[in-house]
C-alpha cells in the first residue's frame, strides 16, 4: 500500500499536464508522472522496469520533448476546445465507469507463480518481442528521418540533381485553397 501516494500523485500530475498552458510545463508534468510511476513499479518489486521507465520515460522522452519545443517555440494556444470540457469529462467518466463494471471484482488467476529473473524472461521466453523492438526502433527512426528531411538541404547535397525541386509550400497557402479540395 506504500504506493498509494505515488498513484495519487501521478494522477494529479496527469491532470496538470493536460491543463498546463505552456508546452514546456506539460512536458515537465509528464516527466513527473513518469517518475512517480517508476517509483510505484519499484514498490511492486518490478525494479528493472522501474529503472527503464525512469531513464526512458522521465529522461529520454522529456529530453526529446524539450528539444522539439526548442525547435518549435513555446506557443500557448487558448480558445475553446473542439469538445466542450463538461461533455468530455462526462463521456470519459461514463467510459471509465463502464469499463470498471467489467473489471470489478478483480479476480486474478495466481495459479502459476514460477519466478525466474527478468533477464531470463526477456531473453529466453520473450526474445521475439525483444528482437521486434529493434525493428520498431528502425522503423521509427526511418519515419523521423523521412519526416524531418528537407528538400533544400538534400538538393544542395546532391549537387543540383534535384535543383528544380519545387518548394511552394513554404509560405502558408490561403485557406480557401484548402477548403476547395475538401468535400
Amino acid at each position: 500500500m506504500e504506493f498509494l501516494p505515488f498513484l495519487l500523485g501521478s494522477v494529479i500530475c496527469g491532470f496538470f499536464a493536460v491543463r498546463a498552458a505552456r508546452l514546456l510545463h506539460a512536458a515537465l508534468w509528464l516527466a513527473g508522472i513518469s517518475v512517480l510511476i517508476a517509483l510505484m513499479m519499484y514498490q511492486l518489486g518490478a525494479w528493472e522496469i522501474a529503472i527503464i521507465e525512469l531513464s526512458v520515460g522521465a529522461g529520454l522522452v522529456t529530453v526529446l520533448f524539450v528539444f522539439a519545443i526548442a525547435v518549435i517555440g513555446d506557443e500557448p494556444i487558448s480558445g475553446r476546445s473542439l469538445t466542450p470540457k463538461l461533455l468530455a469529462a462526462a463521456l470519459v467518466a461514463a467510459a471509465v465507469l463502464l469499463l470498471s463494471f467489467f473489471l470489478f471484482p478483480v479476480e486474478a488467476n495466481s495459479a502459476v507463480s514460477v519466478q525466474s529473473s527478468f533477464a531470463a524472461t526477456l531473453w529466453q521466453d520473450r526474445v521475439l518481442d525483444a528482437l521486434l523492438q529493434v525493428m520498431l526502433i528502425f522503423a521509427g527512426v526511418l519515419g523521423v528521418m523521412g519526416l524531418l528531411d528537407e528538400p533544400k538541404v538534400r538538393a544542395a547535397e546532391e549537387s543540383g540533381l534535384h535543383a528544380e525541386t519545387p518548394a511552394p509550400f513554404d509560405q502558408p497557402a490561403p485557406d480557401s485553397h484548402l477548403e476547395e479540395e475538401r468535400v
Binding site: F101, D125, V127, M135, L136, F138, M145, D149, E158
Partner: protein
C-alpha cells in the same frame, strides 16, 4: 531454419538492407527498389514452400521461447494478399516515386510493413500479436505522411497517428486485463478459459482498439484522409491489406474468446450494416477519385464483417470462407483501382509537377487518351460494385448464399440489405466509368502526359488476376477454404 520461419523473418532482415542499398549510392536510390523486389522474390519462394508443407501436414508451428508463430490457413491467405500487393506496388512505384525525397525509405518501410503484416497473421501469442500490430502501425506513419511538405498530407498523418495510437493503447489494456485474469497469453489456452465478465470487457476493448485500424464506422475518420493523401502505392497497401490485417487480428483475439461467439457475431453484424450503408452514402458525395475509393473501402469492410458475422453467429463455414474470399478479392480489386487511379493521377497531374487531387471530372474522356488505365479502373470499380463475372461478384455471392443457408430471418434480411447496398454502390461506380468513355476530354486529359510502361504492365497483371478469379473462383479456393476452416476451428464449431 524452416521455410515458414524464414518467410516471417526475411522481410524484417531485408528491410534495413533495402534502405542501405539505396543509401550506398546517392545517385541511384532505385537500387533499393531492386533490393526490395529481390527480397519479395525470395519471400515468394519461401511462401510456396510453406504452402506446400501446409497442404501436406497442416499448421506449421515455430516456437521461440514461449512465443509461437503459426502458419495456418488464415496466415497463408493474408500472406498471399500481402505479397501480391507488395510486389505489384514495388513494380509500379518505379516512375511514380522516382526523384521523390526518401525513395529508399519508402521501399524499406514497404518491406517492413509487409513483414509486420505477415508476422501479425502468424502470431499465436496475444501480446506478440500486439507487437506486430504496432510495428505495422509505426512503419506506416511515414508512408501515410510521405509528402510531408504538403499540408493535407500532414493533416492526414496527424489524424492517423493520434487515432491509431489511442486504438493501440486500448488493445493493450485488453491484453493486460486478459493477462491478469487468465494468467496466460497463448491464444489457444485462452479459448479454454471459459466465460467471465472481465473477458467480455477485454473483448470490447479489442473491438474498439482494432476497430480504429479496421475503420469500423464511428472510428473511421482517419481513413479517407490517409488513403487519399498517401502516394497511390501506399493507398493500395493501406486499403488492400492494412485494414484487413487489423480485421484478422480482431478475428484471432475474439475468436479465442469464443465462449461467447454468438454475441460477438451480433456485434460484427451490426458494424457490418453500419459500415456498408455509411461507406456508400459518403462515397456518393465524393468528387475526388481517391477519396471515393477510400469510402468504398468502408463499405467493403462491411461485406467482410457480414461474412464473418454469419460465421460467428450461426456457425456457417461458408460465411467464414466467403469473408476471407472477399478479403482477397477486395485486396486485388481495390489495389487495381488505386493503382489505376494513381496512374491517371500521374499522367494528368504529377508528371506536370502538380499535386492536385484527381477529381471525377478530370477523368472525362480518359478512355481515349489512356485506354489501358481507363479499362483497368473500369474493371476494378465494376468488380467492386459486384458485376458478374468479375471477382467481386463471386465473393459477395458466397457471403450471400451463406446468409441464406442459415435460414435465419434476420440474417436473410441483412443479406438483402447488403445486396441493395451493392446496387447503391453502382450509383457512384458507374458514373466513373461513364465519365471516362465520354467524347469530350477534360482540359487535364488534353494536356496529359503518357503513363510509363512499368505502370501499364502492373495494371495489366492485376487486371488479369481480377478477371481470372472472377471467371474461375476455384483458382483461389486452396487459400480461402483452409482459412475459413481455421476460423471455424478456433470458434470450436
Amino acid at each position: 531454419m524452416t521455410p515458414s520461419l524464414a518467410l516471417i523473418g526475411l522481410p524484417l532482415v531485408s528491410s534495413p538492407l533495402v534502405y542501405f542499398a539505396g543509401r550506398a549510392d546517392r545517385r541511384h536510390a532505385a537500387w533499393s527498389r531492386i533490393a526490395a523486389l529481390l527480397s519479395l522474390l525470395i519471400a515468394w519462394v519461401l511462401f510456396v514452400q510453406s504452402a506446400t508443407q501446409f497442404s501436406m501436414s497442416g499448421a506449421l508451428d515455430s516456437t521461440i521461447g514461449m512465443i509461437t508463430l503459426r502458419i495456418d490457413g488464415i496466415s497463408l491467405l493474408l500472406t498471399a494478399v500481402v505479397l501480391t500487393l507488395a510486389t505489384f506496388v514495388t513494380l509500379y512505384s518505379d516512375r511514380y516515386m522516382m526523384g521523390e525525397m526518401g525513395e529508399e525509405k519508402y521501399y524499406a518501410l514497404v518491406i517492413a510493413m509487409s513483414g509486420a503484416m505477415i508476422g501479425l497473421a502468424c502470431a499465436a501469442d496475444l501480446f506478440n500479436l500486439w507487437v506486430w500490430f504496432e510495428l505495422m502501425t509505426v512503419s506506416s506513419f511515414l508512408l501515410v505522411a510521405f509528402y510531408c511538405q504538403r499540408r493535407l498530407a500532414l493533416e492526414a498523418g496527424v489524424k492517423y497517428l493520434v487515432q491509431s495510437a489511442v486504438g493501440s493503447v486500448l488493445v493493450l489494456l485488453g491484453v493486460a486485463l486478459i493477462f491478469a485474469v487468465t494468467g496466460t497469453l497463448r491464444l489457444d489456452e485462452l479459448a479454454l478459459a471459459g466465460e467471465s465478465l472481465a473477458l467480455i470487457g477485454a473483448g470490447g476493448l479489442f473491438v474498439i482498439g482494432f476497430g480504429v485500424k479496421i475503420a469500423l464506422v464511428p472510428m473511421h475518420t482517419w481513413l479517407p484522409d490517409a488513403h487519399s493523401q498517401a502516394p497511390s502505392g501506399i493507398s493500395t497497401l493501406l486499403s488492400g491489406v492494412v485494414i484487413e490485417a487489423g480485421l484478422i487480428a480482431l478475428l484471432r483475439v475474439i475468436g479465442a474468446l469464443a465462449g461467447i461467439a454468438e454475441s460477438w457475431g451480433v456485434l460484427l453484424l451490426a458494424f457490418a450494416a453500419i459500415n456498408m450503408l455509411f461507406g456508400n452514402l459518403m462515397a456518393l458525395r465524393q468528387k475526388q477519385v481517391k477519396r471515393l475509393l477510400a469510402f468504398s473501402s468502408l463499405s467493403h469492410i462491411g461485406y467482410m464483417l457480414l461474412g464473418f458475422g454469419i460465421a460467428f453467429y450461426a456457425g456457417t463455414p461458408d460465411g467464414a470462407a466467403g469473408g476471407f474470399f472477399h478479403l482477397l478479392t477486395h485486396g486485388l480489386m481495390k489495389g487495381l483501382a488505386f493503382l489505376a487511379a494513381g496512374a491517371l493521377l500521374y499522367g494528368l497531374h504529377l508528371a506536370h509537377e502538380r499535386h492536385d487531387p484527381l477529381t471525377v471530372n478530370d477523368l472525362a474522356g480518359a478512355g481515349k487518351r489512356y485506354p489501358l488505365a481507363a479499362l483497368s479502373l473500369s474493371i476494378a470499380v465494376l468488380g467492386l460494385g459486384g458485376l458478374p463475372p468479375l471477382a467481386g461478384f463471386m465473393s459477395k455471392w458466397q457471403i450471400f448464399t451463406a446468409g441464406f443457408e442459415t435460414q435465419d430471418l434476420v440474417l436473410m434480411l441483412l443479406v438483402i440489405f447488403a445486396a441493395l447496398n451493392s446496387v447503391l454502390s453502382l450509383a457512384y461506380y458507374a458514373p466513373l466509368v461513364n465519365r471516362m468513355y465520354r467524347d469530350h476530354p477534360s482540359s487535364a486529359v488534353q494536356q496529359g502526359k503518357p503513363i510509363p510502361l512499368s505502370m501499364q504492365l502492373t495494371l495489366i497483371g492485376l487486371a488479369v488476376l481480377v478477371v481470372a478469379i472472377g471467371v474461375l473462383p476455384s483458382l483461389v479456393s486452396w487459400l480461402t477454404e483452409p482459412a475459413g476452416s481455421t476460423l471455424m476451428l478456433a470458434l470450436g464449431r
